[in-house]
């Protein structure tokens, strides 16, 4: 295994004079210094491989993403390169391009980089869920209900809330972070750990607070996946009010491009 890595590093060495990233990549586990090969390097790499080989590698990458996304935890580029791409890392951009296309055309999914610094990816659905489209209703996950409540409160309160507001609201819904809930178990852990790792929420410490307090915001995945307009619609139904009566939230839901990306596909 290590021999192979050395060989591939040697290969890429011969292909280009300076690639300090891949040289260092020999030794460590994480490969934090993976640098994107340039277009000419990619082209040279492609010339040495058959289409079948590239397609096969692309398929492996696609499968890796699909399986890793089951838990909804973002996928790191370093893991991808280490476990799947391996010696094809010199044509990494080409593989990613093809993978994105496959997801788009075959699965109707978007492969999105949510963190350009740490290079982590998530899969998001391109298609809207249409009411009554499928007669088969897959089983619902009650955690999504919990998440929805939290996200909607944050949104209606302007995007940032102190954690106590969330805990108090949940307590009124018979979900107490101090007690074990029969549906959710350790509620505090689910909300502050699981949802945060999945990037649905952000849980940030507020400075100068004693005892330490945190605030909740929408996470990057929520920004991509959740439609603010639809939340407002539900609010209107629930309170028997016109969604437009919350004018500030209405404006936010229907104006900013990031929220329309999630809400309507008609833009495309």
């Amino acid at each position: 295994m290590t021999q192979r890595r050395r060989l591939s590093a040697a290969q890429s060495c011969s292909q280009s004079a300076r690639q300090p990233g891949t040289l260092v990549a020999q030794e460590e586990d994480d490969d934090p210094t993976f640098t994107q090969p340039s277009t000419s390097q990619v082209q040279r790499g492609l010339d040495k491989l058959t289409t079948a080989q590239v397609d096969q590698k692309t398929a492996e990458v696609v499968q890796y993403f699909l399986v890793k996304d089951q838990k909804k935890i973002p996928i790191r580029r370093a893991d991808l390169v280490k476990h799947v791409v391996k010696e094809y890392r010199n044509i990494y951009p080409e593989i990613m391009k093809r993978a994105v296309r496959t997801f788009d055309q075959v699965f109707g999914l978007k492969l999105v980089e949510i963190d350009s610094k740490n290079h982590t990816y998530i899969l998001v659905n391109k298609l809207e869920t249409v009411e009554g489209a499928s007669p088969i209703k897959s089983p619902t996950n009650p955690k999504m209900g919990l998440l929805f409540v939290i996200l909607s409160v944050i949104f209606m309160k302007g995007g940032v809330v102190r954690e106590n507001l969330i805990w108090n609201t949940l307590k009124k819904l018979r979900v107490d972070p101090g007690e074990k809930h029969e549906e959710f178990g350790d509620v505090k852990k689910v909300v502050t750990d699981e949802f945060v790792r999945q990037r649905y929420l952000e849980y940030v410490r507020i400075p100068h607070t004693e005892p330490p307090e945190h605030e909740f915001r929408w996470g990057q995945r929520a920004d991509m996946e959740v439609s603010k307009a639809k939340i407002l619609e539900f609010m209107g139904q629930l309170h028997d009010q016109d969604p437009q009566s919350w004018s500030q939230q209405y404006r936010e839901a229907h104006s900013t491009p990031s929220s329309t990306q999630a809400s309507t596909s008609s833009q495309r």
Binding site: G145, K157, N168
Partner: protein, 346 residues
């Protein structure tokens, strides 16, 4: 504007304290103007009295605690508690002389301004304000809360029971707001161990009766076999006896086979007679031949002839008889009586 008095190092904090305090005020309350004049003598006494110092510090700490503990209360737009806290702090501040107390004052202000910021953001929202409590109430109804009709029966301050699928309902309704990528799973699914157990149970059930049956069977069979064999042998011998005796009565006149085997009273005994007679023929103890009328006749074989006639002139045939034929034979041959008496063991 407060007149700065006293030692050098108290000046800076005091100034900072007073100016930020004004910014923190939401409502323009009249801050105490620096009308109080200190005499140099009073100053010195207050400065040095440790009891007073302690008292001031403790009051500051109380104020800070009250703000932190009653946060939600102070946030409510319906009261002016925050302003009252600030007014109290102002009064306390008059007696502040040392850095320690001033630091506490500063801490109180950090907490108070934070609260002030939040109150301000509440006011800023245009349109209908959003009340999480009302939201929670509506959600409970949506989830299908069964409110108890008797309002006095409150368990832990909560009325009603939430149904089991309460959160599933919310999740179902929320589905359309999410554009989650569906989780990928292989269609064949994971290996499920469920089918084997029922099969095992069935197998076991089947095995049990058959085992018992087997256990019983051998003993029964043995008995039957023995009795069968014995019965057959005995019967065959008996019939041989009859045959011989009839033959000896009249060795010259041939015994009609049909007359010999047929029992006009019972078809089944006729069949048994045929069966037993066939043994005699097989063993070479009797022989069948056709007489001049081409009708089958039966005669015992002489003692000496048994082995000689054994292997050479053997012929086989299959005899069948039906009740109809049986009755016809009875009519044709006018058989009134059976030649082979039924045995008593039957």
């Amino acid at each position: 504007m407060r007149r700065a008095r006293g030692g050098g190092d108290e000046e800076a904090p005091r100034q900072n304290g007073s100016s930020s305090r004004r910014r923190g005020d939401q409502q323009q309350s009249d801050a105490d103007d620096g009308d109080s004049a200190f005499g140099p003598a009073d100053l010195q006494d207050d400065d040095n009295d440790p009891g007073l110092r302690r008292e001031i510090r403790s009051k500051y700490r109380d104020l800070i605690n009250s703000v932190q503990q009653n946060r939600e209360d102070m946030l409510s737009p319906s009261n002016n508690k925050l302003t009252e806290v600030l007014e109290q702090a102002n009064k306390l501040f008059k007696d502040v002389r040392q850095a320690r107390e001033a630091a506490l004052d500063a801490q109180l202000l950090v907490v108070a301004t934070d609260l002030g910021k939040e109150k301000a953001s509440q006011l800023f929202a245009e349109g209908t304000a959003f009340d999480p409590t009302a939201y929670a109430e509506h959600l409970l109804s949506f989830m299908g809360l069964n409110r108890l009709e008797d309002g006095e029966d409150e368990q832990n301050g909560l009325d009603g029971y939430l149904p089991q699928d309460a959160w599933h309902r919310v999740a179902r309704r929320a589905e359309c707001c999410f554009r989650t990528a569906p989780s990928f799973h292989y269609m064949m699914g994971s290996f499920h161990a469920e089918p084997p157990p029922p099969k095992q149970r069935i197998e076991r059930q089947k095995k049990a009766p058959s085992k018992e049956a087997k256990r019983i069977m051998p003993t029964q069979l043995k008995k039957m076999d023995e009795s069968h064999q014995e019965a057959t042998e005995k019967e065959v011998e008996r019939i041989l006896g009859y045959l011989k005796s009839y033959y000896q009565d009249d060795p010259t006149s041939p015994i009609s086979y049909y007359e010999f085997v047929i029992d006009p009273n019972s078809f089944s005994r006729t069949v048994e007679n045929i069966f037993h007679t066939s043994f005699l023929i097989r063993d070479g103890l009797a022989r069948m031949y056709l007489d001049s009328a081409k009708l089958p006749c039966i005669a015992p074989v002489e003692e000496g002839e048994v082995e000689a006639g054994g292997s050479s002139s053997r012929k086989q045939c299959i005899i069948s008889i039906s009740p109809k034929t049986w009755r016809e034979l009875i009519d044709v041959f006018d058989i009134r009586d059976t030649m082979i008496q039924p045995s008593n063991t039957d």
